[in-house]
């Protein structure tokens, strides 16, 4: 299967007063048609910057230093601003993190949905309202006829996120990028929005890149997962591989830090803070916070070690000569419980 989007060795830097911030350092991934690829990582790991680079909406002081972004046989890394107009909102759409600030507070909801369609002349003005109401229905807005003429402040947070999704879907894109779409919402609304995104994906045959720092959210969404740390992908694999056979100590830490109902022990917290990307550390960037770090981790950057055809991790622990290290006890117990539950569920069916 031909991937619809290929990112190769993407490197993005920002010019700041203090120097050059290396936000993304050689990220590569493929997105297959109709799959959901989750990019997971802490704040500052470079996941949002990666997708901003893909959409050409990096802030003015940011630039793509190196790498390729292949889409429809063209390298978007070389696109000019005007080239992006035929892609943005038409082929690739973005769902924002914070629906409270993503909508223009003084423009009617309906107009915000139809605006781009009318400006790009992809729909006649008279049919635009019809299309907007259809979209609002599709994302689960009750009374769309009335809502069409209202303003964002008359909508709740969850409803606004539905509008943002409707705007993203307006011109039938084939790729939807969701940048932490549920982070700003409370938990009950989160689940509904995630269901909505899954439902739309099925209905419209979308491919999705899903950015989040929340492993719990990923579990319900992703087909494949990339774990990012300090501007690099440290481990990638199918959702099952990442959840049941994680190999990188950072993935272990993330999974251990995920709250669940059954864990009796104190929740694990990753010590320290992400490294300063003005001066990225030598070797494995996670080494300083990693209790399993080897001496080599501080000196030389680990390559990707292959665990399966779909599963790779960049840690020296996987080197044949490395000492045998087991994942932490808390995580092992948790995975065992998950497998048990899975089996119980399958058994009942």
């Amino acid at each position: 299967m031909e991937p619809i989007l290929q990112v190769k060795d993407l490197t993005v830097s920002f010019n700041a007063y203090a120097g050059t911030v290396q936000a993304v350092r050689g990220v590569s991934f493929d997105l297959n048609p109709h799959e959901t690829l989750a990019i997971v990582g802490e704040s500052g790991s470079g996941k949002s910057v990666t997708i901003k680079a893909i959409l050409g909406i990096l802030p003015k002081n940011g630039r793509i230093v190196n790498g390729e972004i292949w889409y429809q046989g063209e390298d978007m890394a070389k696109y000019s601003e005007s080239d992006f107009y035929k892609i943005r909102g038409k082929k690739i759409s973005l769902v924002f993190q914070d629906p409270l600030s993503a909508l223009n507070p003084i423009m009617k909801i309906g107009k915000q949905i139809t605006e781009a369609l009318i400006l790009s002349k992809s729909i006649e003005k008279s049919k635009a309202k019809e299309r907007a109401i259809e979209l609002m229905e599709a994302v689960g807005i009750p009374d769309p006829e009335i809502r069409y003429d209202q303003y964002p402040f008359q909508f709740s947070g969850g409803m606004r996120q539905r509008i943002v999704i409707a705007i993203a879907l307006a011109s039938n894109p084939e790729l939807l990028i969701c940048d932490e779409p549920t982070t700003a919402l409370d938990v009950t609304i989160q689940a509904k929005i995630l269901d909505l995104i899954n439902e739309i994906k099925r209905r419209q045959d979308l491919s999705i890149i899903f950015i989040t720092h929340d492993m719990g959210v990923v579990a319900n969404m992703a087909d494949r997962i990339c774990v990012m740390y300090a501007g690099k992908i440290v481990e990638f694999g199918t959702a099952n591989e990442i959840f049941y056979e994680p190999a990188h100590p950072y993935t272990w830490a993330l999974l251990s830090a995920m709250p669940d109902l059954d864990t009796k022990e104190k929740l694990f917290a990753i010590p320290g803070a992400p490294p300063n990307m003005l001066v990225p550390p030598k070797g494995d960037a996670f080494a300083a916070r990693n209790k399993y770090a080897l001496e080599l981790d501080f000196e030389e950057e680990p390559p990707y070690f292959k665990l399966s055809d779909t599963h790779y991790a960049a840690t020296w622990l996987l080197h044949p000569d490395a000492p045998k290290v087991e994942m932490p006890e808390i995580l092992k117990n948790r995975i065992a419980r998950m497998i048990e539950k899975e089996a119980a569920r399958d058994g009942r069916q």
Binding site: R88, P105, I106, E115, L119, Q154
Partner: protein, 318 residues
């Protein structure tokens, strides 16, 4: 919205009433008397005059007489010193048009020019254009309008002869505008700079907002996004400075009118104060208060037009 407008109109009337009352009392407390400079007047003559104009009665009685005359007869009293025995309203009525002409023209040219400069600075932030305009902005804000007025009068009018040196009272139509260009410009420089500086700051912030980014990701060009989503959102806070801006223009016009010998309210007010012509002072004070309050009213009402949150939010609270 109708209820809101009525409430605001009522508040305006009450405010004017309060200003008139305080003005009346304060002006009675000012030093100087109408008899200053008339040393040959005998006490009997003074007493007669005092009785004629009710100055021998207690202040509170004078106040009620004054109010009754205004409310019932639209009689603002008569001038006692500047143009003795001419009704104040007759004097004021002649002076208002030219003052409004100069002030409103200044306001009308300063808003669009300031906005264009501000938008240009925000879009080209930290470029040569930005620095160039910013430099002018600092000068226009810090140098008072009468300095520009005298400067332009000397160079543009006297040296180059492009404009009349002083206002030609008999000019009409475009000739009138031509003779008022310099005072209008002198008064407009500072407001232009203020609007530009303010809009630059607001727009620079709006341009970085999430909804601008969303506008671009849904397929708008940078310019489309700025014009359709940036500017209107930056206008809401801008309306806040229109009020102090207009009062600055009017304050400046007190002096600038003198420089160009414009027979307007500014000169009238200064003369009235200097000659202790209380009735005229009070009437000019009321004129300036009225204009300021109407400006505030218009700005408040236009918030609702620009920002639906105020319009619809207000309706809900009713």
């Amino acid at each position: 919205m109708t209820k809101y407008i009525l409430q605001r109109l009522l508040a305006t009337v009450i405010t004017l009433f309060v200003i008139l009352t305080i003005g009346f009392i304060v002006i009675r407390l000012m030093p100087g008397s109408i008899f200053e400079g008339y040393d040959e007047m005998t006490p009997e003559m003074m007493a007669q005059l005092n009785a004629k104009y009710n100055f021998d009665k207690p202040v509170i009685v004078q106040y009620f007489i004054y109010m009754r005359n205004i409310l019932v007869h639209w009689d603002w009293g008569i001038s006692l010193k500047m143009n003795p025995n001419v009704p104040v309203w007759t004097i004021v009525r002649q002076k208002i048009p030219v003052t409004l002409y100069v002030n409103l023209y200044s306001l009308m040219i300063s808003l669009p020019l300031g906005m264009i400069a501000g938008i240009a600075m925000a879009l080209k932030k930290n470029s040569g254009i930005d620095y160039g305009i910013s430099f002018l902005v600092v000068i226009f804000i810090s140098v008072p309008s009468f300095v520009f007025a005298t400067g332009m009068q000397y160079f543009l009018a006297y040296k180059f002869g492009w404009f009349p040196i002083i206002y030609d009272v008999n000019a009409v139509g475009s000739a009138k505008l031509h003779s008022l260009v310099l005072p209008i410009l002198a008064l407009a420089f500072s407001p232009i700079a203020r609007v530009a500086r303010y809009l630059r700051a607001e727009l620079a912030e709006t341009i970085n907002s999430e909804y601008m980014l969303l506008a671009r990701t849904k397929g708008l060009t940078y310019t489309q996004a700025t014009l359709r989503h940036g500017i209107r959102n930056s206008l809401v806070p801008l309306m806040n400075i229109i009020i102090p801006m207009f009062t600055t223009i009017m304050g400046g016009s007190l002096v600038v009118e003198r420089i160009f010998a414009i027979p307007g309210m500014g000169g009238l007010m200064i003369n009235a104060i200097n000659t202790s012509d209380h009735q005229v002072t009070l009437a000019t004070l009321m004129f300036y208060s009225f204009i300021s309050i109407i400006t505030i009213l218009l700005v408040d009402l236009s918030y609702g037009i620009v920002d639906p949150r105020i319009r619809i939010g207000g309706k809900k609270a009713e």
